[in-house]
Amino acid sequence: MDGFMNQTEAEFSYRLWRHDGAQGELIPLLQSAQDHFGYIPRRAIKYISGVAKVPESKIYGVITFYSQFRLQPMGKHAIRMCTGTACHVANAGMLLETIEDELGVEVNGTTEDGTFTLFSVACIGCCSLAPVMMVDDDTHGSLTPVTTRRIVRKVRRKALAGEKKAAAEKPEGDAAASPAKE
């Protein structure tokens, strides 16, 4: 895990280093920070402030203005339930309740085991497949409460199986994986 953090930090630092002071680069920098950390940690704000010569308070203002940026880490899998117009008409509200019930969290919450974070988004743009949700990068359309629960359970099972597998393989896996990374 430590190695992973160091690696993304190095990439993020590279982007900071490459920053040439051009006007209007703050949002792309924040986006790259979020790409690498999964959220925007306090120290990233500090780095960006130093390089881009923008006060931390102003960066914080920009972060909180845009819904894309997060100040808290999120779960391993993001569920984005679309609640745009077409999905709303197709009863997305009820499906959102279904997911909340299934996961036991509310919108913008992360499950206790850190597997899922639930978001409600305005429009994914697949209106003709409404109602739609995205689990990470996969889009699922024409949902009903039953299929929604099925999809969520499937991802949860996979995540749990993956964790168990990783735990079982850890002693060997670590040694094998680290040289390959370099």
Partner: protein
């Protein structure tokens, strides 16, 4: 040898086009058939779509999953025998000649979508084969800036982002200001929930937008362009990046384009999730790396836009029209559409319409023509209630106005706006009060907070509407909503606040009886507002599993296993838990019965 094209836009991929493509990839491997992909063909309701192209003959198959892909490949491509049951559209030498959905495409007139679904959007050669960059050549070699502006004025093209400002006039304003640096901005921050025209154009024909921007740059004397695209469209951004790289390699973008001495560069800026950034001055602030808040106009962007320099900002669809107009002339463009709204417009059909997808038609065709002629009417044969146009800034047009021609003159008369082209269709199960609440919830959340009336006024309106949908409304509420709505419209700086009350005002105009049913009778006639409905179990669908009874927090559901369960309406607290737990879709809601008075 045939060419196989898989529709790979976001909607196709979410319907499973990736799997279809992989299956075909395995089959095509080693044969002389060619497999490629294309953008959105427009028939989203039949995705994933696969086209077999043999010379001039195009056969499009619908709902192609892995199994069907194999069948089509073996029977049609290898065996030479078509599968008429799956064919949605067929064309021979440019003339439609069959398929179950022939009229969906046949009734359209495609200028903006001229290449969507026909070319590989990541291939510059495909675009060039369809006369791509000919307009740029013409504009750079044969025309001076005044000619370009004149041609656009001649065409009468009006901005496709919603407001409908004449594009030629806008360009001439910006051309009139002297400055060392000017910018061309393409607004691809398509935030309206229920609209996906711009995404489809960017994913299906990105070069057309680039070409429009280059020509604009020449016309106004700008050397730099920004495309502000929302981050929620990763595929559109990817295809734009590919297009920009290819066009740069080929010398269509960069220094001394095609030897004309004209320089132009294009950069993509990703949005970060703020609806208000679709407003041009907020968009400029966002490009500059600030909080995306609107500024006071004047000065208008033509004088002071991005980084305080003269800027021309147009919508994706507007730019996509430009190359066609330059190639074919303004007069040719005027053959489409009406006197005051020339040309075509792309609409995104969604909601309860039977055939959701993209439809490009001449301006001035009626709502009925678009929804029923192309969209195939309402899903499951239900009753058409209203169509919402213009998203959170627009309004609902009720069924009895379906003869209204769709153009910049007639739509505003109904209380809605043209908007960017989203058409969300509603049937008798949609509650109009809830729709008004839904849109206000959206704009309230997206209000940037600069103007008090927009920031607090929309919240007060939302609270009132929420109260009404909970059955706690009072008769005076409707007057208060109307009054506050007018005040918000007058006291807000930008388009978001000025139009935010529209969905409420327009639904109150046509559906006052529904508001009163909620307020006086505490009943939701559409069976949608949970607090104002009765929950009923459908006998035929109930399998008697008992899950709903187990989940019910107030024990209002009773019954015997494997027999139909019953809900005690008196005990029910309308929490909706049973609705989400039933595996057989056996529970439905109806408006509470109004006691005869």
């Amino acid at each position: 040898m045939s060419k196989i094209l898989v529709g790979m836009s976001t909607c196709g991929m979410s319907a499973g086009a990736k799997d279809t493509y992989k299956t075909l990839e395995g089959l095509v491997d080693g044969s002389d058939n060619e497999l490629t992909f294309t953008g959105c063909i427009g028939m989203c309701f039949k995705e994933p779509l696969v086209e077999i192209r043999e010379g001039d003959r195009r056969t499009i198959y619908g709902h192609v999953d892995k199994k069907r892909a194999k069948e089509i490949y073996e029977t049609h491509v290898v065996g030479g025998e078509e599968l008429p049951d799956y064919i949605v559209y067929q064309e021979d030498g440019g003339n439609a000649c069959g398929g179950s959905e022939q009229q969906f495409l046949e009734r359209q007139e495609r200028i903006v979508l001229r290449n969507c679904g026909l070319i590989n959007p990541e291939s510059l050669e495909d675009y060039e084969d369809r006369d791509g960059y000919q307009a740029t050549r013409k504009a750079l070699a044969e025309m001076n800036p005044e000619d370009i502006v004149a041609e656009l004025k001649e065409s009468g093209l009006r901005g496709r982002g919603g407001a409908g400002f004449p594009t030629g006039l806008k360009w001439s304003f910006c051309a009139g200001y002297e400055s060392d640096v000017k910018y061309v901005v393409c607004n691809a921050d398509e935030g309206d929930p229920g609209a996906f025209m711009d995404r489809s154009v960017l994913e299906g024909d990105p070069h057309a937008v680039l070409e429009g921007m280059i020509i604009c740059g020449k016309a106004i004397g700008a050397g730099f362009g920004y495309i502000y695209c929302r981050a929620e469209y990763p595929l559109a951004i990817h295809r734009l990046q590919v297009a920009i790289a290819d066009a740069t390699d080929k010398g269509y973008i960069g220094e001394n384009i095609l030897g004309s001495g004209f320089n132009f560069d294009i950069k993509i800026k990703q949005g970060a999730g703020a609806f208000v950034c679709g407003e041009e001055t907020a968009l400029f602030a966002s490009i500059e790396g600030e909080r995306g808040m609107p500024r006071i106009r004047p000065p208008f962007p033509a004088e002071s836009g991005v980084f305080g320099k003269p800027t021309n900002n147009n919508n994706v669809e507007t730019y996509a029209n430009v190359p066609w107009i330059i190639s074919n002339g303004g007069q040719a463009y005027r053959k489409y559409g009406t006197e005051k709204s020339p040309g075509t417009k792309v609409f995104a059909l969604a909601g309860k319409v039977a055939k959701g997808g993209l439809a490009e038609v001449s301006m001035g065709r009626t709502i009925e023509d678009i929804l029923f002629g192309i969209g195939g009417g309402i899903k499951e044969g239900r009753e058409f209630k209203a169509v919402q146009m213009g998203g959170p800034s627009g309004g609902c047009i009720p069924a009895h106005l379906k003869d209204t021609p769709v153009d910049f003159e007639n739509i505003p008369k109904t209380g809605a706006i043209m908007g960017s082209g989203g058409m969300v269709v509603m049937d008798d199960q949609t509650c109009m009060v809830d729709m008004a609440r839904f849109f206000l919830d959206f704009t309230q959340d997206e209000s940037c907070g600069k103007c008090t009336f927009c920031r607090i006024g929309t919240l007060r309106m939302l609270e009132t509407l929420e109260r009404i949908t909970r059955g706690e409304g009072e008769v005076e509420d409707t007057d208060m909503l109307a009054e506050l709505g007018e005040q918000i419209k007058q006291a807000s700086l930008c388009g978001l606040g000025q139009t935010a009350p529209n969905p409420v005002l327009s639904t109150m105009r046509y559906y006052m009886d529904e508001f009163l049913a909620h307020i006086k009778h505490k009943s939701c006639p559409a069976g949608s507002c949970q607090a104002l409905v009765d929950f009923i179990i459908i006998e035929e669908k109930c399998e008697g599993c008992g899950v709903c009874a187990k989940d019910c927090p107030v024990d209002a559901i009773s019954g015997i296993l494997k027999q139909t369960y019953v809900i005690d309406i008196g005990a029910c607290v309308q929490c909706g838990k049973c609705l989400t737990s039933c595996a057989f879709d056996a529970i439905y809601t109806v408006g509470k019965k109004v006691a005869a008075s």
